[in-house]
Symmetry: C2
Subunit: 345 residues, 2 copies
Amino acid sequence: MNVVTEQPANAETPLQLQRGVITPNELFFMRNRFSFPQIDTSTWRLEIGGEVERTVSLTYRELLSMPSRSLTVTLECAGNGRTGMNPPAEGEPWQYGAASTAEWTGVPLAFVLEGVGLSEGVTEIVAEGHDGGHVSDARGEEPFARSLPVPKAFHPDTLLAYAMNGEPLPDEHGAPVRLIVPGWYGMASVKWLKRIHAIRGHFDGYFQVDRYVFVEPGDGGLHRPVTEIAVRSIITTPHDGATAHLGNHLVRGLAWSGAAPVESVEVSVDGGQTWQPALWTSEPSRYAWRAWEFRWDATTPGPVILASRARDAAGNTQPETITWNELGYGNNAIQRVAVQVGGEV
Amino acid sequence: MNVVTEQPANAETPLQLQRGVITPNELFFMRNRFSFPQIDTSTWRLEIGGEVERTVSLTYRELLSMPSRSLTVTLECAGNGRTGMNPPAEGEPWQYGAASTAEWTGVPLAFVLEGVGLSEGVTEIVAEGHDGGHVSDARGEEPFARSLPVPKAFHPDTLLAYAMNGEPLPDEHGAPVRLIVPGWYGMASVKWLKRIHAIRGHFDGYFQVDRYVFVEPGDGGLHRPVTEIAVRSIITTPHDGATAHLGNHLVRGLAWSGAAPVESVEVSVDGGQTWQPALWTSEPSRYAWRAWEFRWDATTPGPVILASRARDAAGNTQPETITWNELGYGNNAIQRVAVQVGGEV
């Protein structure tokens, strides 16, 4: 893993080790805001309360006996690619490895919410983790907590997940149970779940209103919330700064989008002047990235700028340049990879 | 793992540990006919020869630089379910755990074959592994080797696989490179590859003509070869011999077929007299099994026979009773699970 910060543990997946679609659990990127909790599964309970008809407290065993669903889902940190921001933005200096993919198995959150019955007028469902601590001088201590609008909370693919790639959830990825919110940036997929509560109005926790919002010049303090993953492609091979011999190469990468399945990827080997289609090398998926390849014939010695751009089925494309924002979220601008071509095969 | 034989190592995946679609590498069923070889990847070479225009010898590194593909594929041992045969059949006494699923990444065999150019009249492609030994008194020593008809060898999904669930192939699953033949029983997916050779006529190796054929009463010595995986569903929860309280339960299982994607699963809670549809709990896939669930309300104390039956998109269904054959292959008869209902919740 490429360590970003030691304490709390933040680490990226080394892109050159990403083969195919599934990221092995031990290579899955790690995002922690605090020291991560280690929870005894046998005594863990999930409280479902707030504005509901009857509060319940679920055990791990009870959750395992409920209807389940397995989905392959790419999670991406909202700050992935932040180091591409200029001027630099606040926050962990992620390059492009704060995204990974796993098969998640769990209980649709909707099933549990239907069991408790929401009161009239409920608008959001708040998920709170066991992780927390000092967040700011004004706020003091807060747990990590995030809300989902009711329709997203009731989407059948929003899961209370207990398994990752067929194994019980590892401690560092939210054991025993975490949320998985497919298509949204990772902050929504709250780890180490403690409590789910239904509210009327809008949740105003620190991680809802002070973080994970686009703070943009001229927004007059009305910050758009960070939600859906913006369409993106990355080049995994060759790496930035690599040297390449004259002749044939395969440029490899991944592409994904929160709004809709990715539809095409194009590659440029001349810094973005001309583009040619890449080929898919993995199966289509609703929520997981797809792998692609592009055959590149390096004919002239010297520096070359490689770039890739994806389009999703909703027509979204990647911008040429970064949409700068103060907290450095959602940078899906076209990535450029500089390679030095030289020498014979 | 449930060990079937210690030496050579044969072990089943414990079905109750199979969550979702992906089987973790360390729980993937193991099928060995001999002690498994441990090969140094840095000196390994794959010879491609026989009736070809030019013989080549590929290194691991060269293979990794070729066009690739990632596919999620269920592998099933042709002898899976053999213990259900009556009278007992020859061979390892597999119950229902000799099937598992992984994402495989590798180079289409077709790409390599196109590179060497087949000679006129080639009909089969033989894949030979590094594993081998005494096979019978008449034959003496032989490597494990199997042939594919040319159209199957050239199918774009037939892979020279080097990664399993995003990790380099483990030793016990054929490192550094194995064949993956999606939709066919596991014997076709030759492990620890050593040599690929093109032939005219029919390959007559021990594992092609003396094993992996249906030896059936009255076939007059004309044995059908074992190829495509027959449609099958299994119940993973509850297990045979379990006790269940009165009230609601979820019956869980998996379903797959080599001929076409599985289309439906039905469950019976009265020993096969009446059937009701199960619900899919994982995404559709061309080559991987799908997970399903069925809500069962146990209303009366006493013994209950649960059963499941799948249908694939080609219209194939599971037979009521076992199609007996001497070597015990391809038993896809409807599985029956006996459960004792009793007591209160």
